[in-house]
């Protein structure tokens, strides 16, 4: 069971308290009506699915209930860093 560092609780908490939230830093377009179908399809469905460092969202559902961001290596399943909602992905990560 992985321990995940919740940036709001400021402590490591067990994986069972969390739910996964998909790829991070995909902002909902402010004016969806202005997007063409290809752009809207990209927003809805297209994801990077990288092998390696992945910026993604988690929610501390059974803790502080906050959404936050994380960079996790999809191969080793190791969390490299977690950071609050709205903050940019920390520099120094390989994309």
């Amino acid at each position: 069971m992985i321990l995940i560092h919740c940036p709001y609780c400021e402590e490591d908490r067990p994986e069972v308290e969390f739910t996964y939230g998909g790829e991070a830093h995909i902002a909902r377009p402010l004016d969806p009506g202005a997007l063409d179908d290809r752009q809207w399809e990209t927003y809805l469905y297209i994801r990077r699915n990288p092998r390696g460092a992945h910026a993604e969202r988690w929610r501390h559902a059974h803790g502080c209930a906050r959404f936050f961001n994380a960079v996790r290596d999809t191969v080793t399943d190791r969390f490299e860093v977690t950071y609050k909602t709205g903050e940019p992905r920390p520099a120094g990560d390989t994309k």
Binding site: I2, P14, R28, L35, T85, G86
Partner: protein, 954 residues
């Protein structure tokens, strides 16, 4: 002492004899024996039959690495456990065990024919056979293979035992209670903090248990452990897996070592341990040697022979030969001789052996043959002798003996180290991988780290022989019946990677996970491939280290605790009134209230009629509820739902439709505006958590500037639905502070007041099409108010109804149930709910997707009603609909039936369905092919009762 029990010695308690049975025959052992030691003491050599060839097999090791002696232990009715390793079965009085994988008996096994025809069953033979004729697969090959395959028989009765589980935290966890582990534990304890020491055996000591010279020191160490207040010692506890961030799974065996009559409480306990630091002290496992007929019962590991003699006081034979490639074989031979076991000879494949060992052997009267190798073993159910030769190729010498001990070197146990992705380093000296660099906060000590003096040896898997290895019956993996020649065959067939060789031959894939076969297999592959071992790699170690029971992994999730069954505050009343229940999500809900032997159909017809005739009462407490509070509450709801919310006045309700961002309906519910900045939202029972999660996602990550907060109030409110023309009459005397008149309190409104003295949010809403209310009261008062309404309703013929009736009544009105009439691919337009979509709203979740080209195409499934030509024909929910029943198969299907009921109000059946271009087909006949007949039905609008809604607005 008769048989093979030594006159003295061992850690057994000779004052406590125990009786047990094996394959129906009675034997005797002592307290402290394992099943294996007691059987060997009684002269038993035959323990089982091998997996594929059904060759007679005996004991090889005295630990979890034992590959052959797999037994079934019977602890009483429904408590049969197969595939236990005999050396790990603690003996208790009355133990009943039997061998496996043989018929009719261990001695005469019919399937030994497999061995006679063994040449036809090399590695991977099944990839090339059982293909012709194809028809024979189902009727002949598969049933026969199923019968022959496997080892023990699975139990078929439900496991009556209880199992426990717990989390534990400690600063240091030490796995392995030999000298190295105990020492590490005491060091850790000295630093303070919580220390846990676990060992899979029934007493601490590890290898020292077979060395009496260390017993005094061992006792002293155990006393220190007991004196340390911060150390928890658990024996009979196996660490089976090492997971991320020092999370260890371990199973503690609590009662299997006791006679069933003495066993109470849980059988096993699962420990989920999070450790600050992990110390692995799991020791090393001895390797067998690979030579012709090395699987005859009586051929075993030298360390096993030593353990039997010194820990259990049992001689493995009356004339023992040691075949060594390592000094430890000599040390074991000398220890055996010292304990009174007759060691006839030591044969060592090395040309040079330490003078001290050679001298000691001669002093002990043991014949010594250096630079020689065994070329074959004689005997079938027991060893009768060996033939050996200088370098395996010289003139043959024969030696009579009844046991052969193999000393092939030592493999540090790196299973758990590898689970935790620690790196491994090849050691030429050990001929094995040693722990390298860890990823977790972990280190290895003792023999498990290669930090123990076992002596010197030469790494050799296959002994030299004049017989070609391909003609030898030289076993590498005893449990899976893999021979050296199979590994050569795999390489010959083109396998290059060790992972492929493993899977092609099944070497290392048995329940022992290759503990005695991995390294030997690697050496043979290396020789066959002509590449050094370090370049070939090693197969992956995976949990569990040893087989674990499903019971332990299940813990206490069994019977009553299997999973929470959520019950509403009205559930007890419903039970008392004879309700039949159904599962909805993780709740249970009353489905119908049968009276006097009614079946469901009769009960539902009666309940439906009662609601429309007078009044019915229904428990709607399980529906999801969310309190939306804050200055931006209406703005938020406007962005989430299809409907416009800003104009909704406090005191009014609205049916809300929720889409996913891809435009498909995901949930719905009637919601009320309590105040400018407060809404009482409802969701479906099954959607409550999902909807709240979806809303929090948008609120926290997209629209965090909004001042609005969401609170789940599903369990805060009990909801009593009262539906029918007499509904108002029933509650009028109970309600205070609310004007219930039709104009003062119109349909789709909410009022606050009290009912039966309890504060209430009283909704005037209807899912039935009748005059209706949903009485929301705090859940702690739910039953009290329900009973007050029930009593008040007696004079009006009030009837309790369940979810089935609720489904029928709403279907008569064409109200959808999300998840039943929708399947995650329906838009509001598909379901005829365009009226719920705010046309002037610039944006809401899912709006953009509604404009996708596919969403407007003809041929989309649309929500309609169906009336069967035969009014009593009940369509099956899920049945497919076709336009032309005579079209050739496969017929084009145009949709399916989503809801289907017998309607009391109409006196006939009704159905709802989604079919392509449904609305354009209204009036047409469609067909529902069923087994044996085709049902004809007319497409109608999805509305069967009171289309004008006059009853609603009463």
């Amino acid at each position: 002492m008769s048989g093979y029990r030594l006159a003295a010695g061992g850690r057994i308690d000779r004052s406590r004899p125990l009786a047990f049975s094996f394959d129906g025959q009675g034997y005797q052992g002592f307290a402290g024996d394992s099943l294996a030691s007691a059987l060997v003491a009684s002269g038993v050599t035959l323990f089982g039959r091998s997996f594929k060839y059904h060759r007679p097999r005996g004991l090889v090791g005295m630990g979890p690495e034992e590959p052959n002696a797999l037994v079934t232990v019977d602890r009483g009715p429904a408590r049969i456990t197969p595939n236990l390793r005999a050396p790990q079965v603690a003996l208790h009085d009355g133990l009943q065990a039997k061998s496996q994988n043989r018929w009719p008996s261990l001695k005469f096994d019919v399937a030994a024919l497999n061995d006679v025809f063994g040449a036809l069953f090399p590695a991977g033979f099944y990839n090339k056979t059982f293909m012709w004729p194809r028809s024979a697969w189902e009727k002949l090959y598969e049933p026969v293979i199923r019968q022959l395959a496997g080892l023990g028989d699975s139990p078929v009765a439900r496991d009556p035992d209880h199992y426990d589980a717990t989390y534990a935290h400690c600063e240091v966890l030490v796995v392995g209670g030999g000298i190295a582990g105990i020492t590490a534990t005491l060091e850790a304890a000295a630093h303070g903090g919580r220390v846990i020491l676990i060992d899979e055996q029934d007493e601490l000591g590890g290898g020292a248990l077979a060395d009496p010279a260390q017993w005094a020191a061992l006792d002293a160490l155990k006393e220190k452990l007991a004196a340390a207040g911060n150390v928890t010692v658990m024996t009979r506890t196996t660490a089976f897996g090492y997971y991320h961030q020092n999370f260890i799974g371990a199973t503690q065996s609590l009662t299997d070592h006791l006679a069933p009559a003495d066993a109470s409480g849980p059988r096993e306990r699962l420990w989920r341990i999070r450790a600050g630091e992990v110390v692995l002290a799991q020791g090393a496992i001895e390797r067998p040697l690979v030579f012709n007929r090395n699987d005859v019962p009586g051929v075993m590991l030298a360390s096993a022979g030593r353990m039997l003699a010194l820990r259990y006081g049992v001689a493995v034979g009356h004339a023992v030969v040691v075949m060594a490639a390592h000094d430890s074989g000599w040390r074991d031979a000398l220890a055996l001789a010292g304990a009174g076991v007759h060691v006839a000879a030591i044969i060592d494949v090395r040309n040079v052996v330490g003078a001290d060992l050679a001298d000691a052997a001669r002093d002990a009267g043991i014949a010594v043959h250096i630079g020689c190798a065994i070329t074959t073993v004689h005997g079938r159910h027991a060893v009768t002798g060996v033939t050996f030769a200088a370098n395996g190729t010289g003139p043959a010498c024969k030696l009579a003996c009844d046991a052969v001990l193999m000393a092939g070197g030592w493999t540090p146990s790196v299973h758990l180290w590898s689970h935790a992705k620690g790196s491994l380093t090849w050691s030429e000296a050990w001929g094995a991988y040693l722990p390298g660099t860890p990823i977790e906060n972990c280190h290895a000590v003792g023999a498990g780290a290669g930090a123990w003096d076992m002596g010197h040896g030469v790494v050799t898997a296959v002994l030299p022989s004049h017989i070609d290895v391909r003609a030898q019956k030289a076993f590498v993996d005893f449990q899976n019946d893999v021979k050296a020649r199979d590994i050569h065959l795999a390489v010959q067939e083109g396998m290059r990677s060790i992972e492929h060789i493993k899977r092609y031959t099944t070497n290392g894939m048995a329940t022992d996970q290759g503990k005695t076969s991995n390294l030997n297999g690697l050496q043979i592959a290396s020789a066959a491939l002509g590449r050094p071992v370090e370049q070939i790699g090693l197969t992956t170690f995976r949990p569990p280290y040893t087989p674990q029971t499903f019971g332990a992994l299940m813990g206490h999730h069994k019977d009553a605790l299997f999973q929470p069954v959520r019950k509403s505050p009205i559930d007890e009343w419903a039970t008392e009134h004879g309700a039949v229940f159904e599962n909805v999500s993780n709740w249970r809900r009353a489905r119908y209230f049968p009276r006097g032997g009614e079946d469901m159909d009769a009960a539902v017809l009666r309940e439906c009629a009662a609601v429309r005739r007078s009044v019915g009462i229904f428990d709607a407490s399980t529906l999801g509820k969310i309190e939306v509070v804050g200055p931006d509450a209406a703005e938020f709801l406007n962005r989430m739902y299809t409907n416009p919310w800003k104009g909704l006045q406090p005191g009014r309700c609205r049916y809300g439709l929720l889409l996913r961002e891809d435009g498909f309906i995901t949930d719905d519910g009637v919601s009320a505006r309590m105040a400018d900045d407060r809404f009482h939202l409802t969701t479906t029972t099954g959607g409550a958590a999902r909807v709240l999660g979806m809303m929090e996602d948008y609120l926290q990550t997209e629209w965090s500037d909004l001042d609005v907060w969401l609170t789940s109030t599903t369990e805060q409110w009990a909801v009593i639905a009262l539906q029918g023309p007499r509904a108002r009459d029933v509650i009028a005397p109970l309600v205070s502070g609310i004007d219930l008149g039709a104009e003062a309190f119109p349909h789709m409104a909410v009022r606050e007041g009290t009912i039966a003295g309890v504060p209430t949010r009283l909704f005037r809403v209807s899912f039935t099409g009748e005059l209706g209310f949903e009485i929301n009261v705090p859940a702690s008062e739910g039953r009290k108010v329900w009973e007050a309404v029930w009593d008040a309703g007696q004079a009006h013929g009030i009837t309790a109804y369940g979810t089935e009736t609720m489904h029928v009544l709403r279907a008569e009105k064409g109200f959808i149930i999300v998840g039943q009439d929708t399947d995650g691919t329906m838009t509001p337009y598909d379901m005829g709910l365009d009226w719920a979509v705010g046309k002037k709203k610039p944006d809401f979740v899912g709006k953009r997707s509604l404009a996708r080209p596919d969403m407007g195409l003809p041929g989309r499934k649309q929500f309609i009603g169906l009336l069967t030509e035969d009014p009593q024909d009940l369509l099956e929910e899920g049945a497919q609909v076709v336009a032309d029943p005579d079209a050739p198969m496969p017929m084009p299907m145009i949709g399916h039936v989503t809801s289907s009921y017998r309607s009391a109000a109409l006196g006939r059946t009704i159905a709802l369905a989604v079919i392509a271009d449904g609305r354009a087909r209204i009036g047409q006949t469609i067909f529902v092919p069923m087994p044996g007949k085709v049902i004809r039905a007319t497409v109608t609008a999805p509305m069967f009762y009171d289309a004008e809604g006059s009853r609603l607005n009463a």
